[in-house]
Amino acid sequence: MYSIILSTASRYLLLLLLIFSVFLLLRGHNEPGGGFVGGLVAAAAYALYFIANGIEAAKTVLRFDPLRIIAAGLITAIASTLPSLVAGERFMTAFWIDTGIPFIGKVGTPLLFDLGIYFLVLGITLSIIFSLAEEDRS
């Protein structure tokens, strides 16, 4: 069922929800939030867009194959462990850089790991939703 209200709203909501998901991702280390929740919210944003505008439109907006997003997320998460291997520290030891910039503060490998989780959750959720949607259509 096509609804012009939902369709119009979803265009703005998509952007807002994505911004909110990034906010959740960055908030994650010391406060509630993080890659998992952020990824779910981002997936919900695309799911809403798909409900309003159909599967093809949602795929166009997403641009990437969800499987590629899964792979990219895993690669990012694995990459976050590389500094510990290169530096000869114990595996997955966190490294932090204090940027000194207000609001950004310390940036480190756990953020990179969280970013990987973000993409992984986004990719997995969307590939489930999209395959269910295609099943329904055929």
Binding site: A71, L74, I78, E89, F91, M92, A94
Partner: protein, 505 residues
């Protein structure tokens, strides 16, 4: 360097990710899979030699000290098991090259195989019980998908039984983990081994021990929780059946070994060893009786898995150094021989077009070498000298006699006879008797048309595994030395605790 402990887990993950990234390049998948397994085998051999030379290696992930962080530990037992799993993984990679159809390859067969290996290696190497739970899940979920990949109705039916039972056992596992944490305040295995003898409130310890026995009993297919195994293992492609048969139940046996020799050895849980002894006798007997009644090769072999698990449980419940070493040697011997028999059943199926022993025959006349290749693991499994099974059974029965469990030893010997009987049944039916369909019988066109390269890929793993069975038998001493060292480490938790907690209490 201790970082090598992570490599058997990290490498399959990286391989799988690379494959998902290049999802359409099936040729690349095949090559990466075989190369990844070979590299993993190399790394785990290095790990084993490091552990043998330098004692137990432990790694605190992220630098969070035990017992607060996640610990990975490679002692002799873990590293021997990792070598065995990587070895089976490698042969399965070869066998898959010859047998897996392109459709399955497109639907992530190879990445799933790698993730399965990651789960198995993780379960062997972790030093933390909750982490063990996570690795079990990694292993189970990839095995669920491997089991249903292809989507034939028979597969789905088997998978439902497999998934339901295993999910049930996972929830029991989780409940046990919760109660244990509430009782002891830690889930680090070394810390538990140290703390449990000193605990004041001990009421729930026996409950926890029983819950762990149930959950690992399901995974190991121990009597009376085995029925999911013969209901599901004959449904997927042979390469998948073979790796499941070789490795998955053994992860359960490994966990029982680890828990009931290192962690739960105090009074409250000592009765578990008695229970395990009784159950092992039933496991041996019921498994082999089930096998004798079967005519489907894969079902017959599936029941044999259960029967063989009984021997391992019997030996490890005896708790003497000789018995534990015997259980470990038995496990390795069985992984090799059992996987090999599944590979062979796949070839027989390809030659004759049926799994049913009553419908096939006469293979020996046209393929005498195949008969020889079959006899090695079959007689090995039955325990005929000089093959590996002879030593494995000898150790187990010697340990049983030493501890005066004559009745159980009697059961073990009778079961051996029946094992030999059902192996001879396969030999008689498939190789020796005339083909019921007349001279030549059905020659599977698909097999004859296979390119030589693919044929070589399915015969090579059988030759490799058969060689290992012979080598274990003829050159027994060094391998027994490794198993013996592992057993001594298990029974004296001191070195393990020192390696993880750094000697501090």
């Amino acid at each position: 360097m201790n970082r090598i402990v992570m490599l058997p887990i990290l490498m399959p993950l990286c391989t799988a990710v690379a494959m998902i990234f290049f999802r359409r390049r099936i040729l690349l998948h095949r090559m990466l899979n075989a190369a990844g397994m070979a590299a993993m085998l190399g790394v785990s051999l290095v790990l084993l030699s490091n552990v043998k030379a330098g004692g137990i290696l432990s790694l605190q992930v992220g630098g969070w000290e035990a017992p607060f962080g996640i610990t990975f530990v490679a002692d002799m037992l873990s590293s021997i098991m990792v070598v065995a799993s990587a070895f089976i993984g490698f042969t399965t990679a070869l066998y898959s090259l010859g047998t897996i159809d392109e459709k399955r390859e497109h639907y992530f067969y190879y990445p799933l195989l790698q993730i399965l290996m990651m789960g198995i290696n993780g379960a062997f190497l972790t030093g933390d019980i909750f982490n063990l739970y996570v690795w079990f899940e990694v292993m189970l979920i990839s095995s669920f998908v491997l089991l249903v990949l292809g989507g034939r109705p028979q597969q789905l039916e088997g998978a439902i039984k497999y998934v339901t039972l295993n999910l049930l056992s996972s929830s029991v596992f989780l409940a046990a983990v919760g109660i244990l944490y509430g009782t002891a305040g830690t889930l680090n295995m070394a810390d538990l081994a140290q703390r449990i003898p000193l605990l004041e409130h001990r009421e729930l310890l026996s409950v926890v021990a029983v819950l762990f026995m149930i959950t690992f009993g399901v995974k190991a297919a121990m009597f009376p929780l085995f029925f999911w195994l013969p209901a599901s293992y004959h449904t997927p492609p042979v390469a998948v059946s073979a790796i499941f048969a070789g490795l998955l139940t053994k992860v359960g046996v490994y966990a029982i070994m680890r828990f009931f020799t290192t962690i739960f050895v105090h009074e409250e849980a000592a009765f578990i060893h008695q229970v395990l002894l009784v159950l092992s006798a039933f496991t041996m007997a019921v498994g082999v009786l089930g096998a004798v009644a079967q005519y489907d090769m894969r079902k017959l072999l599936s029941f044999h898995i259960i029967s063989q698990i009984g021997y391992m449980i019997f030996a490890l419940a005896l708790q003497s150094p000789l018995a534990i070493a015997g259980a470990l040697f038995y496990m390795i011997h069985n992984i090799v021989a059992k996987t090999n028999l599944f590979y062979l059943s796949g070839i027989i199926r390809r030659l004759k077009g049926s799994w049913d022993l009553r419908e096939i025959g006469g293979i020996y006349r046209f393929y005498p070498m195949l008969g020889l290749l079959f006899l090695v693991p079959a007689l090995g499994l039955a325990g005929i000298p000089p093959l590996s099974g002879f030593w494995a059974k000898f150790l187990v029965i010697k340990a049983g006699l030493d501890s005066e469990h004559y009745l159980l030893v009697g059961v073990a010997l009778c079961v051996s006879m029946l094992t030999l009987f059902s192996m001879i049944k396969i030999w008689n039916e498939a190789f020796w008797k005339d083909d019921p369909l007349g001279e030549g019988g059905v020659e599977d066109e698909a097999y004859l048309k296979m390119p030589g390269m693919r044929k070589a890929m399915i015969v090579l793993p059988i030759v490799i595994l058969g060689t290992v069975t012979v080598v274990f038998g003829l050159w027994f001493d060094p391998f027994f030395g490794l198993a013996d060292k592992a057993a001594l480490e298990l029974l004296d938790a001191g070195e393990y605790i020192d390696a993880v907690l750094g000697g501090k209490s």
